[in-house]
């Protein structure tokens, strides 16, 4: 190094004597291996996205060349237009836009109602002493883990008895029912983590159940509301089985329609249209994911923590 001082004659001292300042960074084999592993993994995770996009921009003639990795010679959005407005499920050829609209119609009320109910339930269970509350919470917690198959058929019978089966309110109610455990857990944990003095002070000031909730707790619930919204938007949008069973022909959500377009099409399979429709279906949760950044991870963590 150029900064070696005159007093440190190299002849009299070992090589280490000349060491000064920042330790030089060496590119070790381990470091190279690390980056190789990360690059390979990134390729594995990105490949399907790449192939989806590339395929959707190709013509069927190009796809028949069987060069799945190749970039489209002349990128075209034709497949996207077709997927949106003319793709067929059975005899109905009005594109995946039908499913998109259905999913929006299902999502919005389900989102508001499930978060609202979860917030109130979580609040009541966390801050108020109610007999049997722990039992209620335990059953809810278990409900979050039990496969839908256990509940589905009896629910179908109940819903048809009251005329909700295969209707928009029916599928919304189903989402509220199956969203309740995770929403309750989320809000209960959040409200339990607040300083208890806050709630005590509000009680001393004479606040009632709803007053405390609306005036004290809701204004400070923004973070958990965001997490809840992320979980529910992606969860409800990505749902397949509940939509398939409960939504009815008129309200099939986008995922169900997508699967119908791809897996039960007649005649030649239009892979470019299929992939365009797949991306369109993935767009909403992807947008949520990329816009929410670290909140998404928080949602995962919050959704997985113990009760």
């Amino acid at each position: 190094m150029s900064t070696v001082t005159q007093t440190l004659a190299p002849a009299t001292l070992d090589r280490a004597a000349a060491h000064r300042g920042r330790r030089p960074r060496k590119l070790t084999a381990g470091r190279v291996g690390l980056y190789a592993f990360l690059a390979l993994s990134a390729a594995f995770f990105l490949l399907p996205l790449y192939i989806m996009v590339v395929t959707s921009l190709k013509t069927m003639d190009e796809i028949r060349l069987a060069e799945i990795f190749a970039f489209p010679a002349a990128p075209t959005l034709d497949a996207w237009v077709a997927a949106w407005s003319t793709a067929c499920t059975g005899l109905d050829c009005s594109g995946i836009q039908v499913g998109f609209l259905n999913s929006v119609k299902i999502l919005l009320p389900s989102l508001v109602l499930s978060i609202g109910l979860g917030a109130v339930t979580g609040y009541a269970l966390s801050l108020w002493k109610i007999r049997g509350a722990n039992l209620l919470f335990a059953v809810l917690l278990l409900g979050a883990f039990i496969p839908y198959q256990v509940f589905i058929y009896p629910l179908v019978r109940m819903f048809s008895m009251v005329g909700l089966y295969g209707t928009l309110p029916g599928i919304v109610l189903v989402h509220v029912i199956f969203g309740l455990p995770i929403m309750t857990l989320l809000f209960r944990n959040f409200y339990s983590s607040l300083p208890p003095e806050l709630f005590k002070a509000a009680r001393v000031d004479g606040g009632g159940f709803w007053q405390i909730f609306v005036h004290v707790l809701l204004p400070m619930s923004t973070p958990i509301l965001i997490v809840a919204a992320i979980l529910q938007v992606t969860g409800i949008w990505n749902d397949f089985i509940l939509g398939l069973v409960f939504a009815g022909r008129e309200n099939l959500p986008m995922t169900v329609q997508l699967n119908n377009i791809v897996n039960s099409a007649q005649g030649e399979k239009l892979y470019n249209v299929n992939m365009a429709a797949t991306i369109l279906t993935a767009l909403v949760p992807l947008a949520v994911y990329f816009l929410s950044g670290r909140w998404f991870v928080r949602g995962i963590a919050a959704g997985s923590v113990k009760g």
Binding site: L34, F45, L117, Y153, T281, P285
Partner: protein
Amino acid sequence: MATRIRRSAAPVVALTPSILIVLLAYVGTMLWTIWISFTSSRLLPVNSFAGSAQYERLFGDPRWLLAVQNLALFGVLFIGICLVLGFLLAVAIDQRVRAEDSLRTIFLYPHALSFIVTGLVWQWMMNPTLGIQESIQALGWTSFRFDWVVRRDMAIYAVVIAGVWQSAGLVMALMLAGLRGVDEELWKAARVDGIPTWRVYVSIVLPLLKPMIVTSVVLLSIAVVKVYDLVVALTNGGPGTATAVPAKFVMDYLFERQNIGLAASASTVMLVTVLCVLAPWLYSEYFRKAKGSAA
């Protein structure tokens, strides 16, 4: 007096919808399904008790046995690979690498996608005539096979790949949170002691990540038992019945093959399985908490 009553009534009023949901939609349906599994119901539910007849039929049904076998195979591979890959990814990202945020985003984005989207993409990539196999063979590696979705012996592994692609990022995110929670000074102490990095991860950090690992296993196990959409989109249970899984078995018997009793017995078996997975976890959670409050 009036206000006191209202005050104590308000929380109960607020909980009424949840109580109704729990009683009707959870407990009620569960009990009903269990009861139906002990009846001779077929097309319609009937209340004639038939003992364990449905269960005997169920476990004599090769399709169900295959579904259970598939589930076990899928479960072991899916959970195992997700844990190992997720842990390695988290450790790799924890090495102060460049573009840490981008890498994390790349590894986790599949988890935002539905199993339907996941299944359809991988179905297309494994397309035997137009997919990856054809492209690689065109490069000269003519014996390359990646047509797993249409091969009876390999289709279940295709489901594993797609599942790992979707869920490994979740494990990565959980593990990374755990790694970031490790005391900085522990790392310093290990460096002063001259303990190799890999050894620190194995002997010191890994035991500290136990709660994260348990959480991951529970979440992945639940996903395994529930697996349905992925199979429907990727292989629709095929080729033939090669990728039959319990959830799909139940759905098929409920809505297509019209055998309510058999489906109910199958879903009861699923329920018991889930409870068996959950019980030790809930117990340890409870046990740990009891220990913590005593200290």
